[in-house]
């Protein structure tokens, strides 16, 4: 509490801690790699997976080789190229939900805690309802009607994900509202929005950063799942769609392990990077969790 008066000093040093932890450094590195791949896919990828003429049909289902470092699929498409292009969908989904979910949750949580009364009860009821709705069946339901798209994941994740954040933020703000510094701010007649946005809400930022990272991980996994079931964007290459093709075109029957292993590994590593980033951020913001301190 005491050192919150000057959060600027030394904060940069704390961020460097991210790099000092092996898992934190690895996560940042992998995330940077993915962003780099997504941005420069057009010249980085050895083949263009969207161009059917670049499929090496004579070398279909070939294991990793010099020409195709990660092997080929059943039409001779280069796995590495598809993998590089697939980062785009994964990152778009991950980053979009990572922004929308904490934002919506924070706004609604702050509203619930700050205004209380009927609005609070209504919001908390909605939270209770939304928390028990299963995401995947709902996504399939929506996809049946409007057709496959990865934006379904973003929209439904936002629609379902705000609830948990809202409850956390509300709890945090309720306890923060009673803090002496808020009373002090009230005593010099600070308006409610100033108290909320300037004093109370910043105390939830660490929580929101952690939530953003975890939501991103969850949505990357959900997008992969939805694409795997065949409800992703039919035109965009994504890691989940690669696995769906592998499943549908019998990669398991031919023992084409490279076609299964690499896309799944990419999904896992990206989700893991996001989760680890969450843990690392938690540690940066919460000194009690740092190494050496007993929890």
């Amino acid at each position: 509490m005491a050192n919150r008066a000057k959060p600027e000093r030394g904060a940069g040093g704390h961020y460097l801690r991210l790099l000092r932890r092996p898992s934190g450094a690895f996560s940042l590195l992998f995330l940077a790699l993915c962003i780099f791949c997504a941005l420069s896919a057009d010249w980085l990828a050895p083949y263009d997976p969207y161009d059917p003429s670049q499929k090496d049909i004579l070398a279909s289902l070939s294991p990793p080789s010099l020409r195709h470092p990660l092997g080929t699929d059943s039409f001779g498409g280069d796995i590495l190229s598809s993998l590089i292009y697939g980062t785009r969908v994964a990152l778009i989904v991950g980053f979009s939900t990572g922004v929308t979910v904490p934002f919506l949750g924070a706004v609604l949580g702050a509203v619930a805690a700050f205004f209380g009364g009927r609005l609070d009860r209504l919001l908390m009821f909605l939270v209770d309802v939304v928390m028990v709705l299963p995401g995947l069946p709902l996504m399939i339901l929506v996809a049946t009607y409007i057709g496959g798209s990865y934006w379904i994941v973003v929209v439904l994740f936002t629609f379902l994900g705000w609830a948990g954040v809202c409850r956390m933020v509300r709890g945090r703000i309720l306890s923060e509202k009673a803090a002496p510094y808020v009373e002090a701010a009230r005593s010099y007649a600070a308006p409610w929005y100033r108290i909320l946005f300037r004093h109370v809400l910043p105390s939830t930022y660490p929580l929101l950063a952690v939530t953003a990272a975890r939501t991103a991980a969850g949505s990357v996994l959900a997008e992969a799942g939805l694409s795997f079931l065949g409800f992703g964007d039919p035109l965009a290459i994504s890691w989940g769609k690669m696995l769906a093709d592998a499943q549908a075109q019998g990669a398991l029957l031919f023992g084409a392990w490279w076609w299964v292993l690499f896309p799944g590994l990419a999904v896992t590593l990206l989700a893991l990077s996001f989760i680890n980033l969450g843990y690392a951020l938690e540690e940066v913001f919460n000194p009690r969790l740092r190494r050496g301190a007993r929890t």
């Binding site: 009821f125 209770d128 309802v129 928390m131 028990v132 709705l133 299963p134 995401g135 995947l136 069946p137 709902l138 399939i140 339901l141 929506v142 996809a143 049946t144 009607y145 409007i146 991980a217 996994l221 992969a224 799942g225 795997f228 079931l229 065949g230 409800f231 989940g240 696995l243 592998a246 499943q247 398991l252 029957l253 023992g255 392990w257 299964v260 292993l261 896309p263 799944g264 999904v267 896992t268 590593l269 989700a271 893991l272 996001f274 989760i275 680890n276 843990y279």
Partner: protein, 324 residues
């Protein structure tokens, strides 16, 4: 059991079901196009027949009348006729529910039992090898897609080792009435890999939650008092610690049900295990709207019901919740 708490939770569960019904209804009508279009899409259908079809489905009535009709039908258990099989959807779904429950419930319960034991061990030997492995795997397991793990297991145990069948539910040609034991054996053999997948994916999560709960309980004064009494380690762990440490796990179980019931879809797809999930996917691919809607609705109701039950169990075990 405190009556007020029970009534409150029941009300919440019913309202959630109500919300799901409203959502389901709205979805049909918010979507572009005409729900009955497929029946008169053929230009040869005369206009009288088209009118008759619209009247038959009640699509000429105002929206709120349609909604009331829909709610009435849901409560009567009339969720429509499947486009593809021409049978009542509820009947189609009821046949598939046991198959899904079999491959989800058994591994989940096994994972909880295993998680309790592993978590207890890791917490007792805190900082040891088990503890380290558990913490690493606990983080990793939450980012492994279940369907990918399923595919890898198929690769390992069905393609290379050839221990288990690749996919399906039973060897073709076997029937329950002729040779019940062969049938059950074959089903168990086919169910092994889907169950193993769901088990492997959920153990680390439960174990990690248990470990953290045990560690916080071990710091309590009553544990110190029990130790001072000189009781054995076994009694201490399995009697005094377990009771309090297992509470967060029940909460987690209730939350993970959402994931388990929904996540079974993916695993069923990999193994062609014809449960509710695969039914829903196939219905969605065939654009069998009544069937998709009913599966989604029933999945949601099952989830809400299971959550309600675990809430009650939790309140029954932990009196603090009832008054919280």
């Amino acid at each position: 059991m405190n009556r007020g708490y029970f009534a409150w939770r029941l009300l919440m569960a019913l309202l959630a079901v109500g919300a799901a019904i409203v959502l389901n209804f709205l979805l049909i009508h918010l979507m572009p196009g005409d729900p009955a279009h497929r029946f008169y899409a053929d230009p040869r259908v005369p206009p009288e027949v088209k009118q008759e079809i619209i009247r038959m489905f009640g699509l000429d009535k105002p929206l709120w009348t349609q909604f009331l009709l829909y709610v009435r039908n849901v409560f009567r258990g009339e969720l429509g006729i499947s486009f593809t099989t021409q049978r009542p959807v509820l009947q189609v779904i009821a046949e598939r529910i046991p198959w899904t429950l079999a491959i989800t419930l058994i591994p989940t319960l096994a994972a909880i039992a295993c998680g309790i034991w592993l978590g207890m061990w890791a917490a007792w030997k805190r900082g040891g090898v088990t503890d380290f492995l558990l913490r690493t795997l606990g983080t990793a397991s939450s980012s492994v897609p279940s369907f990918w793990l399923a595919m890898l297991l198929v690769m390992l145990f069905a393609y290379w080792a050839r221990i288990f069948p690749l996919m399906g539910m039973v060897k073709p040609g076997l029937s329950l009435s002729e040779s019940p034991w062969c049938f059950i054996g074959s089903v168990a053999c086919h169910a092994a890999l889907p169950m193993l997948t769901l088990f492997v994916i959920s153990v680390p999560g439960y174990a990690l939650a248990m470990r953290n709960a045990v560690i916080s309980v071990l710091g309590e004064n009553y544990i110190l008092a029990a130790q001072a009494k000189g009781i054995s380690q076994t009694v201490l762990l399995w009697k005094h610690v377990l009771k309090n440490a297992v509470l967060p796990l029940i909460n987690m179980f209730s939350l993970s049900l959402v994931g388990v019931i929904g996540g079974a879809v993916l695993v069923e797809q990999v193994f062609s295990w014809y449960g509710m999930g695969l039914l829903m996917i196939r219905a969605a691919q065939a654009r069998d709207f009544p069937l998709v809607q009913a599966t989604a609705l029933i999945t949601i109701i099952l989830t809400i019901g299971a959550n309600f039950l675990t809430d009650l169990v939790q309140a029954w075990i932990d009196p603090r919740i009832r008054y919280g």
